[in-house]
Each structure stands twice: as structure tokens, then as C-alpha cells.
């Protein structure tokens, strides 16, 4: 037991989900990981906040492997009107301290700070050269709440204690991170409006499957990196960081970010659908027929072999009565490459199985087009495939929230003006 009365069992499930100093203390009680230190030489860090791929570990097949633990802080700027230089300095100094304390890697800490349309309202101007629209429903069968914080901070690390400590340090409830004194914090400048957490990686979903949305039979395989039981984020299914980077204007080197929260309802998925049905719906029916996917899909290597699924998803869906999620998404490619870079992770926030679908793209329009391909409305038209039934994995999810953000380049990450030029 800790000072906040967190039982060991509850703690084991959700240190990051619980959050706060007690969870952090209990986490460190279990052992303090040896976390590599960062650098004072800011110039040695990538100019792009979202340049994570080179800093991530890779899996056996060579795919970048996402950091395992994540915290999302939805932040409000505490001052009305335009930000002051003092506030900018404070935010920049706080973030620089984190970079000094932790190596820019999954073994240390990776983070981004983005800004939503609400933030830019104070300038009575849209960010120069980048469209960051208000979020909206992206399918006729969804009704998401818009997220409207000023800013979104995404903290990621393989170590629970690192994301927790970084969060507490920014909030001002902890003075040091990785033995580095915080020179300043977000206190008085950015306050937390909402906090979301999650995880991705082998073993974690199985360990945390005792939540609403997943049946009591504990069906999530031990090897699964995500609740749905299959690997994702194959290199071949991801946009490159170059593709998602804003290439012109004062925010060149930045990216746009979309964050949605999706609840998962997996009883039918695991207890009613057969494995063949699951493979058909996640990948494509041809993969199911040919036994292309072993286990969670490690055997697929660096892409989901989507070129072996019939290319015309509409015609294939009409004939097969089912269309795969990957099969639909492959239609959103440009020059044979996806246009969005997924950095999504699962969640047990609120005791519910969920997915924080975080993606980066050059333009929010790239995300909208990708989501449209996933909706498969064209597949369902004139077809045995329903708008959700047998239409990829739409049957098993509910989009609850959506938000859009601009990730400025690193040198503009602290309360940027709408037109830095």
C-alpha cells in the first residue's frame, strides 16, 4: 500500500493510468530504472518534434517499435490573449530540462507539444501555411465530442516512471527528473484540462485486459501489442516522417496531429468471430483463406502484404461479403505509400478498453481521406457488406472524441505565434 491507498493489485494494472505522485512513488519503490541522460546541446536534437523513428528501438523485423507507455496532457494556456515572451521562455525552459534529463529515445523520453484551433483563436488568425480545422465527425455513424484544449502534450517512454516523473515535474509537484533539477515548470502558464494514458507493446494489453469492453475470458493473446490481438504499425503501412512534415511556410518542419479516443467493444470480436473472420476483417479475406497471418502477425515482417489482397476493395467486398480494414486503408495511399504516421496506443482510462488513435500527417486532410477510406461507405453501397457489419473493424469501435493540432518544429514549440514570420 502507498500513502494514497493504492493497492498493489490495482497498481500493477495501472500506475500510469492512476498517475500522480503516489503512483510514481510506488512505481519507483519497485525499482528505479537506469535511464540514460539527455543533452545540453539542443542543436544536437532533431529540428522536428515528431522525429522519433531514429530514436525508437526496432523490432526483429526492423519496424520502429513505439515506446511502451504514454501520457497525453490536454493543456489550457492560463493567460487570456496572446502569450508573453516570459511564458514562452518558461515553457521552453521546462521542456529543455526534460531533454537534459532524459535521452531522446524510447529508453529515455520522447515528447511533442502541439496546439489546437482554440489556441490560435487568440491571434484571430489561422496558423500560417497550415490548416488546423476544428474537429468534426468523420463518419455518418459517429458522433464524437470535440476536444478543444489549447495544447496537447504527448509523453512517451518505455519506463512508466519516466512518463509519470516528467508529468509531475511539469506540473510542479516534483523538483527533479532523472537527478536533474527542474529549472522551471508549466505552473501558472499551462494547466491540465484532461489527462489520458495508454500503452502499446507485447504483453501489456494481455496484462491490462480486465476492463469493460473485453470479455472475462481474457482472450487477448500474451504476444499481442494491442487489444485487438494483431500487430500494427508495420513500416510499410506507415507514412515516413518526411511525408508527414509540413514542407513550406513558417511552420516548415512541423506536422499536423490528430487525436481521437476510440472505445473498443471486443466481446463479439473474440467470442463470436472465428480467427478466420478476424483476419478477414482486420486484413482481408484473401489473407484468411491463405492462412497468411500467424499469431499476432509477427510473421508478416515489415508490411501487412496488402498487395496480396484484391486491390479493388469495392468489387472484392461485393463478391466476398466482407472487406478488410487494411484492404480499405490501402486505398488512401499516394505513390503507393500511406499518408499518415500512426502513433496510437491502447488505453484502460475509465476502466474501459480504448484506443488513443494519434496520427501525424502533413495535412489534416490526409487524415480525413484515410478515415474516409476506412469508413468503407463506398464498399457498403450496392454491396452485401454492411456499413459496419463485415466492414473492417467498424463493428467493434465507437469514436468518442476527436481533436486536431499543429505540432510546430522544435524551435517554435513554446506558445508559438500564429504567423512566426
Amino acid at each position: 500500500m502507498t500513502d494514497r491507498g493504492i493497492s498493489r493489485r490495482e497498481f500493477a494494472k495501472s500506475a500510469v493510468a492512476i498517475g500522480g505522485t503516489a503512483a510514481l512513488a510506488a512505481c519507483l519503490d519497485r525499482g528505479t530504472p537506469d535511464v540514460p541522460e539527455g543533452t545540453d546541446d539542443i542543436a544536437s536534437l532533431p529540428a522536428r518534434q515528431h522525429a522519433w523513428n531514429d530514436a525508437l528501438a526496432t523490432d526483429d523485423a526492423g519496424n520502429p517499435r513505439m515506446a511502451r507507455h504514454h501520457v497525453l496532457l490536454l493543456l489550457d494556456y492560463e493567460r487570456d490573449g496572446r502569450p508573453t515572451d516570459g511564458d514562452r521562455r518558461q515553457v521552453e525552459d521546462a521542456l529543455s530540462t526534460l531533454e537534459q534529463a532524459y535521452e531522446w529515445s524510447n529508453d529515455g523520453l520522447l515528447f511533442t507539444l502541439g496546439y489546437g484551433p482554440t489556441y490560435f483563436d487568440r491571434f484571430e488568425a489561422n496558423p500560417a501555411g497550415v490548416d488546423v480545422p476544428e474537429p468534426k465527425a468523420l463518419a455518418p455513424f459517429e458522433d464524437p465530442e470535440p476536444d478543444t484544449p489549447d495544447a496537447l502534450l504527448h509523453l512517451a517512454s518505455d519506463h512508466e516512471s519516466v512518463v509519470l516523473a516528467a508529468e509531475e515535474a511539469l506540473k510542479g509537484t516534483r523538483k527533479t527528473v532523472n537527478d536533474h533539477e527542474m529549472s522551471t515548470t508549466f505552473e501558472g502558464v499551462l494547466s491540465v484540462a484532461d489527462r489520458r494514458t495508454g500503452f502499446v507493446g507485447t504483453g501489456l494489453p494481455a496484462e491490462k485486459q480486465d476492463v469493460d469492453g473485453i470479455p472475462d475470458s481474457e482472450p487477448v493473446p500474451e504476444e499481442a501489442p494491442l487489444f485487438m490481438g494483431f500487430k500494427s504499425g508495420f513500416k510499410g503501412n506507415q507514412a515516413t516522417e518526411d511525408r508527414v512534415t509540413v514542407d513550406a511556410g513558417p511552420f516548415a518542419g512541423g506536422a499536423t496531429q490528430h487525436l481521437s479516443f476510440i472505445r473498443l467493444h471486443l466481446q463479439q470480436w473474440y467470442e463470436q468471430d472465428s480467427r478466420e473472420q478476424r483476419v478477414s476483417k482486420m486484413f482481408c479475406p484473401a489473407h484468411a483463406d491463405e492462412g497468411k497471418v500467424e499469431g499476432v502477425g509477427e510473421n508478416l515482417g515489415t508490411d501487412s502484404a496488402i498487395e496480396e489482397c484484391p486491390e479493388d476493395a469495392v468489387e472484392s467486398g461485393r463478391r466476398e461479403g466482407v472487406v478488410g480494414h487494411s484492404q480499405k486503408l490501402s486505398r488512401a495511399r499516394e505513390d503507393d505509400s500511406p499518408t499518415i504516421l500512426r502513433r496510437d496506443f491502447d488505453s484502460t482510462d475509465g476502466g474501459e478498453a480504448g484506443l488513443h488513435f494519434l496520427s501525424l500527417q502533413q495535412s489534416i486532410e490526409d487524415f480525413v481521406a484515410t478515415r474516409e477510406a476506412m469508413n468503407g461507405t463506398d464498399v457498403a453501397e450496392n454491396s452485401a457488406v454492411g456499413q459496419r457489419t463485415n466492414n473492417g473493424i467498424l463493428q467493434y469501435m465507437t469514436v468518442e472524441r476527436r481533436g486536431n493540432y499543429l505540432l510546430p518544429p522544435r524551435n517554435l514549440r513554446a506558445l508559438p505565434p500564429a504567423d512566426p514570420a
Binding site: 455513424f141 470479455p215 467493444h265 461479403g321 452485401a384 456499413q387 459496419r388 457489419t389
Partner: protein, 349 residues
């Protein structure tokens, strides 16, 4: 064995409990062994159960009725394959949502379906989107087995998604929006146990169907008698046990000059339950010339009902029509329908 399951397995007159202790729990007499050698056609199931009403409510353009019965086994369909869904120990009821138009009382199959959340004291008890489903006694509905937490008052929230299929005639411009409603459901195990249960030990497995259950509170989902379809009936054909009625409309308020409409109403035999979610191709020839060769899309019309159709650019009134089933109905099936309507026949009218 929990109390719920025990009552379900013993509360029946004439129920057989001969399977032995080991299978006592899993083989409730509510789901007796399947008929052996089921025909590839509609057949009389082992039994039929009564249905209780959990409630009904209006949601925007729609009426929603919620019925419940004992947990059922059923079959989902993917392509031409079925997958049996067995009853779990945790399942308390089979919940059936029927959505209809209060003006015409037509039951509406909706491609995006409905989502159901069951709450008690503000806590979610169960939540999932039920499958589009057909049953001999209940017709077309959205159904699945749900868990409850014993007797008491539940709030069942239902979201009806917008209709995306084409709407014709008086349905044009209707059902464009999603809508939500909720029903207070006072559940008592004793009321569930009192629902009727009729076994067909003599006739089970015979080709045929039990009758659609008439209920005063909700309309039954039935396509019109073929002879009563609008337009000129081109014929009625049967394939994979489904009944295909093709009709040709030379005049309709949704047609422009020089246009005709081909409608194919696909239904079950005996009960005329619509078979939604199919892929159909059609061809139309007039005077030896092909004037149409494309997909027939699902559509709703007050008099045609749910059907597959297309506008054809011709004013001719004596078409030769070909219909190819590209994929069968992907609706889930209650017992007695799971072996029928799974092939992909072709027809000429």
C-alpha cells in the same frame, strides 16, 4: 452453476435433463441439440420461444422496439460461410431491437445498424452493436445475447444510425439522421422464465418455417406479397431457398421521362422476411439491346419495401431481366435459417 442458469435449465415442463451432470450447465434445454442433417434450406427449428417486450420509444424519425427472450445460439455470416455463436454462461437474455417507420409501420433494415448500451445505476452493464439478424418468428431485427446483473431496473440506450441506402418515393429525404433514445427495462428472471417455449420434436428439421409472431406493440417485418408489388411483376423465382420477385416500374414519382425502375424484392419463403445486405448484379435487355448492366443497390420505398433496384434508361415496358447474386445476405441467422440463402444463384425474368 449459478442460479440464473439453473432456473433456465429446469423451469420447463417436459424439458429433458438427461444429458448428465457434466453437460447440465452448457446444454440448457433452451438450446437442445441441433437437428441432424439440416437441409440447405429454411427448416423448422428445434423449438421456438416467446418474447417479452422490454419497451419501446421514438428516436427521431424512427420507432424502436426492444424485445427479449432467452439467450439464443445464432450464426453470423461472412461471405458464404456461417459461424455459430454459442450461448455463454454469462449471457442473460437475447435482446432484439426492431426499428420501424412510425408512419408506414415498415420495419427498416439500416446498413449502419444500431448500438445498444445497457446501464444500471449509471454504470455500463453491457454494450455492443447487435447484429442485423433474421428469425422465423421475429423477422428482421438487430439481435445479440447480452449480460445483465440480476433482477432490477435497467436503462437500455439505443442509437439508431442514419440510413445510407437509397430512399425512394415518400421515403426520399427521410431517415437522414442518426437518433438516440432510451428505454427503462424492468427485468425479472421470473418473467423471462415464464416466456413460452414450444419444442417441435416431431417436425424439427422439416422444410418449413414457424409463423411470424404478431405483436400489437410492433409491426412485423414482411415484404409485400409479390402480386401486390407496384409495377408489372416480371416473375418470382427461387434460388438457394430465397424468393426473388422482380417488378418493373414504368411510372413512379421518382422517375423522370424515359426512365424505368427495376426492383428485385428478395425474401424468405413462407414468411416473406426481407433478406437485406446482399450484392446483386442486374442486366436489362429491351428489343435485343442491353440497356442496363450494373449493380442493383439496396433501397427503401413505402410500397416496394426493402429491395434491390436501379433506374434504367428506357421507356420500354417488356424487358428481359437477368439477376446475379454476387454475395448472399450477410445478416446473422436464428436457427432454421442458417443453412438457407447462402449460395449465389442467377435468374432470368
Amino acid at each position: 452453476m449459478n442460479r440464473r442458469r439453473f432456473l433456465a435449465s429446469t423451469g420447463l415442463a417436459g424439458a429433458s435433463l438427461v444429458a448428465g451432470c457434466g453437460s447440465f450447465q452448457s446444454q440448457s434445454t433452451r438450446s437442445p441439440p441441433l437437428v441432424e442433417n439440416r437441409p440447405d434450406a429454411t427448416y423448422r427449428p428445434t423449438h421456438v420461444e416467446g418474447m417479452g417486450m422490454a419497451g419501446m420509444a421514438q428516436a427521431g424519425d424512427y420507432m424502436v422496439g426492444l424485445g427479449y427472450s432467452f439467450p439464443h445460439r445464432f450464426w453470423t455470416v461472412t461471405g458464404t460461410d456461417t459461424e455459430r455463436v454459442d450461448i455463454r454462461d454469462a449471457d442473460s437474455i437475447h435482446l432484439m431491437a426492431t426499428v420501424w417507420d412510425p408512419e408506414t409501420e415498415m420495419v427498416l433494415p439500416i446498413s449502419a445498424g444500431v448500438a445498444i448500451t445497457i446501464e444500471r445505476d449509471g454504470e455500463t452493464v453491457d454494450e455492443k452493436s447487435p447484429w442485423p439478424m433474421i428469425s422465423q418468428s421475429m423477422g428482421f431485427h438487430y439481435g445479440d445475447n447480452y449480460e445483465l446483473d440480476g433482477d432490477g431496473l435497467y436503462t437500455v440506450r439505443v442509437r439508431v444510425n442514419a440510413v445510407s441506402d437509397r430512399r425512394l418515393g415518400a421515403f426520399a429525404g427521410r431517415f437522414d439522421d442518426a437518433a438516440e433514445t432510451s428505454v427503462e427495462f424492468d427485468f425479472a428472471q421470473s418473467a423471462l422464465d415464464e416466456l413460452s417455449y414450444e419444442a417441435f420434436s416431431e417436425t424439427q428439421g422439416e422444410r418449413g418455417a414457424v409463423d411470424l409472431m404478431e405483436m400489437s406493440m410492433r409491426p412485423v417485418s414482411q415484404t409485400p406479397v409479390a402480386d401486390e408489388l407496384p409495377g408489372t411483376l416480371l416473375g418470382t423465382k427461387k434460388g438457394s431457398d430465397g424468393v426473388y420477385a422482380a417488378t418493373w416500374l414504368s411510372e413512379a414519382d421518382f422517375l423522370a421521362d424515359g426512365e424505368s425502375y427495376l426492383a428485385v424484392s428478395v425474401r424468405t419463403p413462407y414468411n416473406r422476411v426481407p433478406l437485406p445486405m446482399m450484392s446483386l448484379d442486374g442486366t436489362v435487355e429491351t428489343g435485343g439491346e442491353t440497356v442496363f448492366d450494373d449493380a442493383l443497390g439496396a433501397a427503401l420505398h413505402p410500397d416496394l419495401g426493402y429491395h434491390y433496384g436501379a433506374v434504367v434508361e428506357t421507356a420500354e415496358s417488356d424487358p428481359s431481366v437477368g439477376v446475379d447474386v454476387v454475395a448472399p445476405s450477410q445478416t446473422s441467422r436464428h436457427e432454421g435459417y442458417e443453412t438457407a440463402f447462402l449460395a449465389t444463384p442467377s435468374f432470368s425474368f
